[in-house]
Symmetry: C2
Subunit: 478 residues, 2 copies
């Protein structure tokens, strides 16, 4: 482990965590956390940090390597270069971890109306569509709409066996074949997948361009692998800066000193809030439209990593905070009433941006008018910040725990930090909960029923069980 001491040129772009309103001297003794409670976690922190470091060194926690994998970054950039300027549309076929990272990058770092701009206004970049569902209304409308000959499809599934993604892929492969001939399909497809699996075999056989997802990188930790990097390079993100941001955060988080490690500290605060204070709902509330999809990316990371039935000792524990995304200021007019007055079961993490790129001044109204004129002369940036502060103050006074992750700006470097911080926070929190943050055994049961009902061989008993269940009488309906 490193001990970070000297200031670095990027420090002015460093993310900051303000957790004052988590602490008992700010939010009150009932749900507030004390210094002592954090200190009490120090011995466990040393053990968890050592375990993480050992796994990292053994290569078992692949996401730690991604910011340093220049080969993978170059492969993604080169692949993007092959399609750059030649396609009008980029369509990602993927679901869960194969979709959420790319969506977060697109929304955070591209123009808010990117897909409505002209090609020249987009700087020649393609429009971006991320098809993360199999709803026939959406997929069908989309296929009617898109010009296949000017589109690149990026099929992303690590296992190569995700039913939803393969279904989309089979449909699109057929459409492409019918339209442009079997030989040309490979000019419109990029397959991003793991080392094994049927999709890789098929791609190799049919000559589709391939990008690899390392085996030790789980879907929800894959945003800095080619899963996120190829689309991001194609829609114009500076992926070198993105990875530099992640490395910068790695440097800050590679210490076992709890009070000095922002990711560990955030993980510890979340854990204490949930387990000791009953704050079982973890709300992420960006005051920035661009960061809302980062919230949805985190929602998978947090839920799937920490929501576990069985702990590392084999005991049934049924743990896991429930992540929720809210949006400032919008949800002040939707969820704030509940957050202020409802049960004391929520911890809110605000995502704040210190220096937005744009602002807009509210004009002064010509004649003084009570209830309107006071707005004149302020600007929207200021309004947004005042609303965030007012919400924090009101919530804190009402005894509601909250903290703020502050980005100096929204750019590839800060977004890289943010992803990496939250990933390390998740792995560390998994250690505190005593569960395995890298698996997802709970989705297996429903997958087997899906296979059974679709008639996949080997799952006949599941098909029978599902049929019996559907036919069960005595249902309650109105």
């Amino acid at each position: 482990m490193t001990n970070r001491s000297k200031s670095q040129p990027n420090d002015k772009m460093a993310l900051r965590l303000d957790f004052s309103h988590m602490m008992s001297d700010f939010v009150g003794p009932d749900r507030g956390i004390t210094r002592q409670e954090i200190d009490d976690l120090i011995p466990r922190t040393s053990a968890i940090a050592a375990d993480i470091e050992a796994k990292r060194e053994a290569g078992d926690l692949g996401f730690y390597q991604l910011p340093y994998d220049m080969e993978a970054a170059a492969a993604a950039t080169d692949m993007a270069g092959r399609f750059q300027g030649k396609c009008d549309d980029l369509v990602v076929l993927g679901i869960g971890g194969s979709a959420l990272g790319g969506t977060a990058l697109f929304r955070a770092l591209c123009h808010p109306l990117h897909n409505l701009l002209s090609k020249s206004e987009r700087g020649g970049k393609p429009r971006v569509f991320i098809l993360d569902n199999v709803d026939p209304a959406t997929v069908g409308s989309f296929l009617d709409f898109v010009d296949l000959e000017k589109t690149v499809f990026n099929v992303i599934t690590k296992s190569g066996s995700t039913a939803e993604t393969l279904s989309q892929f089979l449909i699109i492969r057929q459409l492409l074949t019918d339209k442009i001939g079997r030989e040309s399909v490979k000019e419109h497809l990029v397959v991003t997948t793991g080392a094994g699996g049927q999709l890789r075999q098929l791609a190799e056989q049919e000559g589709y361009p391939l990008l690899s997802i390392p085996e030790t990188v789980g879907g929800r930790f894959s945003v800095l692998s080619p899963v996120g990097l190829f689309p991001a390079a194609l829609f114009g993100v500076d992926i070198a800066e993105l990875l530099a941001g992640a490395r910068y955060m790695d440097d800050r988080c590679r210490t076992d000193q709890l009070w000095q490690n922002p990711a560990y500290l955030a993980g510890a605060l979340h854990y204490l809030a949930d387990v000791k204070k009953g704050l079982s709902i973890a709300i992420m509330m960006p005051y920035s439209d661009a960061l809302i999809q980062v919230g949805y990316w985190f929602r998978q990371l947090w839920a799937e990593s920490l929501g576990k039935a069985i702990n590392n000792s084999g005991e049934t524990v049924n743990v896991g905070p429930t992540p929720v995304v809210a949006s400032g200021v919008t949800d002040q007019h939707s969820q704030l009433q509940l957050y202020s007055e409802g049960p004391f079961n929520k911890l809110i993490t605000f995502l704040l941006v210190e220096n937005p790129d744009q602002s807009l001044t509210i004009p002064r109204h010509l004649e003084p008018r009570e209830g309107i004129s006071y707005l004149g002369g302020h600007d929207l940036e200021e309004l947004m910040q005042i609303e965030a502060q007012s919400t924090q103050l009101a919530l804190t006074k009402a005894g509601r725990s909250n903290m703020s992750l502050i980005l100096p700006q929204t750019n590839a470097f800060t977004i890289g930090q943010l992803f990496f911080l939250l990933e390390v926070q998740t792995v560390f929190a998994g250690g505190l909960y005593g569960i395995n943050p890298m698996d997802q055994p709970g989705v297996e049961a429903s997958k087997q029923y899906i296979y059974g009902m679709l008639g996949r061989s080997g799952f006949e008993d599941k098909a029978r069980e599902a049929k019996k269940w559907r036919d069960r009488g005595g249902r309650y309906t109105i």
Copy 2:
């Protein structure tokens, strides 16, 4: 109250609620609800129903009148007619209840790619933008993008004093004035507001077209008022059918017989699940992209109506389930792990559509290939339904309570039913919790700080308090 008996021509489009998996004989005794527990609520149901009926008759619960208010519907339709064909873009300026209903209608009933289609493909309807935030990056980009001369702005705020909406309005009014002159502004603005307030005065003075929100209709219950109807009429929703659907549901829900009233029954199940079984998180999970925004509309309705500190007897109770939106099948790859294995604190309501308009067949792969071929010949509609069933079965077997609201199709008539059902369910649940579902006192505190910090006169003490709080030392940051 009416007693509904004879079948009606619209019955084949009736929404159904299947609550089998809420009941102990399906989901097990630990979190399952018994018939007896529902029966035990019958006396309270009679009292609550009588109270609702009395308030309704007195005109205090204005949303009940909306499906019958043909004058308001005609005003919205006429206003839409004035702009129909004359504008390329409709922009709603509103937040919370002024935005969420229109967004839900737009997403449920318009083409999934509406804003990307050409004007003729849209049937001459305008593109639709709902600006429900003051983020300068979003608002600024949008104003650079839009052609003001071909745009109609619908400013919606019942109080006429919503800071965010007024700020947007002042900016746009200035831009319009600069571009087309003060006299022409009224050709590009429609103001939807309550009977009083500064905005109405200003609109009357400057001659802006006006639509009225009845005083007894709260923002989150206003989707069937001109708040939702004017935009919906302009983007092509059959608002007569929408209101007919609401009336149809009203007919079903105007009985005090708990077992026969779908809205009351759903409200009772939610209440029992929360209060008796500890299921404090209410997830709405549509298996339909078109219905996701209905989930966000409901999220405000449920949170703001039921999240209350003080009950009707003046006692501090801090109640309110936390609504969450998830999306099927997408969130099977994000949240299902937590829902299946995490704490027993969730109730999932699936929104299912029985007969989607479109389907798409997955082609059979040319050569048999393990792990891929089984998908061939199925279609996406079937895949979606099989995934929903598999998720329900797996969750129910894991002891996780869930129910399903089933729409025969997605159309204006069923969406009208859905809105109305959920509104009545909310008012009834408010009765069970013993709180006032129509107010929102918890957002007042932060509003006063906002006014203070913006320098509105009369709020100087709040400004001082906020400053003192910002300047407080001893903060915890990293």
